[in-house]
Amino acid sequence: MAEPSSMRGLWEDVKTGRVELLDLRPPRAFHHDHVPGSVSAPYRLQGFGPSVAAFLSDRGGPPFALVSDNQIVLDAGREALHDSGFIPEAVLVMRMTEWAEAGLPSVRVPDLSVDHLFTERDQYVVMDVREPYEWRSGVIPGALTLPMGTVPDETRKLDRARRYAIVCAHGNRSQSVASFLADQGFDVMNVAGGMMAWLQAGYPVRETASP
């Protein structure tokens, strides 16, 4: 159990930009629910230390903190960074439910099932973030096609009054895009299972879409 006081202290440091908060949980868990302004740095058995060290070096080696929902993962991440010459200012094992219970804010991206999307499709703007070669398998009728890499430049054109359903092939890239947009205050949901689930369920697509 994380102490509410340590969570509040951490939030104060993250909010004011004094520390960079690295979240070691798997990407899925992070994109689902995370501390505003935190960075997803999922612990991996290979290459975690050097890649995070490079990220921190690029940012001029700011003070940083590590968070995970598991002590073993946190210890492994800390050790890998230590081997790369980086020592966190703080580490905390906590669950996002504890964070919310302490009254602290989070960025959430709910999952949306393909069944729900199909029946409620007039409630959403569907944004397909796959690469152009993937459109051959079919695109959801009416979807915007914005390959993942183009999304940051296109956010100006998005309508903050609408609700976006982000879709990709399996629901992984769309999760990253959805949490990127959620961080900026957009109302987004992630289509769980992506086009794989949409096609398997037999829902309609337009063939060979060119934008």
């Binding site: 070691l24 798997p26 612990y43 991996r44 002590q71 073993i72 993962v73 299972g193």
Partner: protein, 252 residues
Amino acid sequence: MIWASVQDTMTGCSSYLVGDELTGQALVVDPLHSKTAAHYVLMAQDLGLSIAYVVDTHTHADHESAARELSEAAQATLALSHRAPVHFAYAPLKEGDRFHLGSVEVEVWEMPGHTPDSLCLVLRDLDRGGEPWLVMTGDVLFVGDVGRPDLGESSEAAVKEAARAQFRSLDRLMELPDYVEVYPAHFGASHCGGLYMSRKYCSTIGYERRYNTLLQARDPDRFVAEQLKFLKPPPENARKVRALNLGAAGSS
């Protein structure tokens, strides 16, 4: 379905990690103390999963289980047969129970024989189809062999009764279609099997149906006689290991 296995080649033990892409939930079956609980936590994390359930297919007598330690480290539900004679709290599994990790469905079969609390777990990927894809057979069925009947109670009558129960459990496994994959808890030179155990750690129902010597005995008496022919001394420390896994007072 996300699938990974962890083997200890020294002891011939297998353990399995199954996950679901959408929910990120994972189940670990028969985790090995020799591999450490941390190994499974980090492996799940590496696959982008969080461990939600830990199951032992039965109370092991040959190796120390990491199930309790892992369920604590991962804050996961520890689930065992309702017949497990252990001295700690767990979620009881009964015949026919089904639980889900997203689209992965786990069905519990009670399969007494090797031990009274032996389970097989029949897995389906509901995204792909309603038929079973694989079965984790614990110490009921091995590749080329079956689980020995004498590690619970060792009196002759008890061993014979256990062998008879094992016959019925194997008969039931053979109701599964040929293509269903078989993942036992042991392979190679493990103490829990007999003469014919393969060093290969997985098989299919169809292959075992055709080529597993012990499955060729089609009546219970012949099967029991076959099993008794291959009995061997219990593994070293069996009593102590079993007591450790039961969480018995003073066992550690």
